[in-house]
Symmetry: C2
Subunit: 218 residues, 2 copies
């Protein structure tokens, strides 16, 4: 029974990593679609998100079955509960990649992001894709160095997010209101994306160290 539990728990961890890999690919494709107004790639992100949702539902069902069958306690129980939480964050990250892709599709064949602010968005999108990659590595290795990297990437994204709002508020900003709205939303989506990545890192940190992340640090 113990061995079966270990096998089921290990499968749960692998399935969580698979979802994280799909989220990473979604982030990468959403970034590429945004930067090149590639509507086909945007469509792909949108349709792939349904797959992430389905996998998350299946994983949650597995986790509940595992609780019912094995009634784990202590750290095993916390691992299962943390997995449920991490899958929720990953699912939201998939949604946010989809939102970026939907903006791209909405404005096609125009680019969503106006030229003046493209370097900022390029850096911000880079950091979010990197964050998604770090989540995969963190889940695979449980090496908290990746959690530290995620905190740094989150700070980078937050700084860019603030600088987007600063650019919008500057007298030199002459874009249309619709563009301003798009830029605001895109920046918010990217900022939330890394927030969720940091939330996954907080759960993993807790599993590895036993230290509960506070709402401030998570």
């Amino acid at each position: 029974m113990r061995e079966l539990f270990r096998a089921n728990l290990s499968r749960l961890g692998k399935d969580l990593t698979t979802i994280a890999e799909l989220v990473h690919r979604a982030a990468d494709d959403a970034r590429a679609a945004l930067e090149t107004a590639d509507v086909h790639r945007a469509e792909q992100v949108i349709s792939e998100d349904a797959r992430i949702d389905r996998l998350q539902e299946q994983l949650d069902e597995q986790a509940i079955q595992l609780l019912a069958l094995h009634a784990p306690v202590a750290s095993d129980l916390r691992t299962v509960v943390a997995t449920l939480r991490m899958s929720t964050s990953l699912e939201r990250m998939g949604d946010l990649a989809r939102h970026i892709a939907q903006l791209t599709r909405l404005r096609y064949p125009e680019l969503v992001i106006p030229e003046s602010i493209r370097p900022t968005f390029h850096a911000m999108a880079d950091a979010t894709v990197d964050a998604a990659a770090q989540v995969v590595l963190l889940l695979e290795t449980q090496d908290l160095g990746h959690a530290d990297s995620l905190s740094e990437l989150n700070e980078t994204v937050n700084e860019h997010h603030v600088s987007v709002f600063r650019a919008i508020g500057a007298p030199s900003w002459t874009e249309s209101a619709a563009t301003t709205t798009d830029v605001t939303l895109a920046s918010r989506y990217l900022e939330r994306f890394t927030d969720h990545a940091v939330s996954v890192a907080g759960k993993m940190r807790y599993l590895v160290t036993g230290q509960m992340p506070t709402h401030q640090s998570a």
Copy 2:
């Protein structure tokens, strides 16, 4: 042991309702602060959100203890897992009320929402406060009529959300870029608020009927 489990599960449900009541008050105060540029009330929402966060952490800890102690199965297990999920949604609703309050504080003594679009925001904010009230009633009574009301309120909010973007895109929109950003974010926060309320309703519907909500309907 069975009686103790029932008592603990009932306490968990009551604590979840308490959080929902705080979220309802936060939504109500955030709406009032937004509409009257009441910075004190905004500050109150912001500081009260820390309390919601703390209560949610405590409730999650209780839920984990309950799983460890009683190892519930079948519908009891699903109730505990659904409670964990609903508490996450409520915590996010509290965050979104705080975000509205933060916008209010940022622009004080100015009003965040320009006059032309105030009726739309008034109706939208009304619907979100109503949604928060429906969540409380749903948790208290498990009457799925409240879940139906939540679906309707969510549709109302979504329609207003779309009409905000339509207003921003219209030639008659002459607001500054900073105001456009504020309006975009405020509308997004309210839209997400009711999304989370509908997500709580989906979990409750599942507990009562055994029907899993899909990502589309939840």
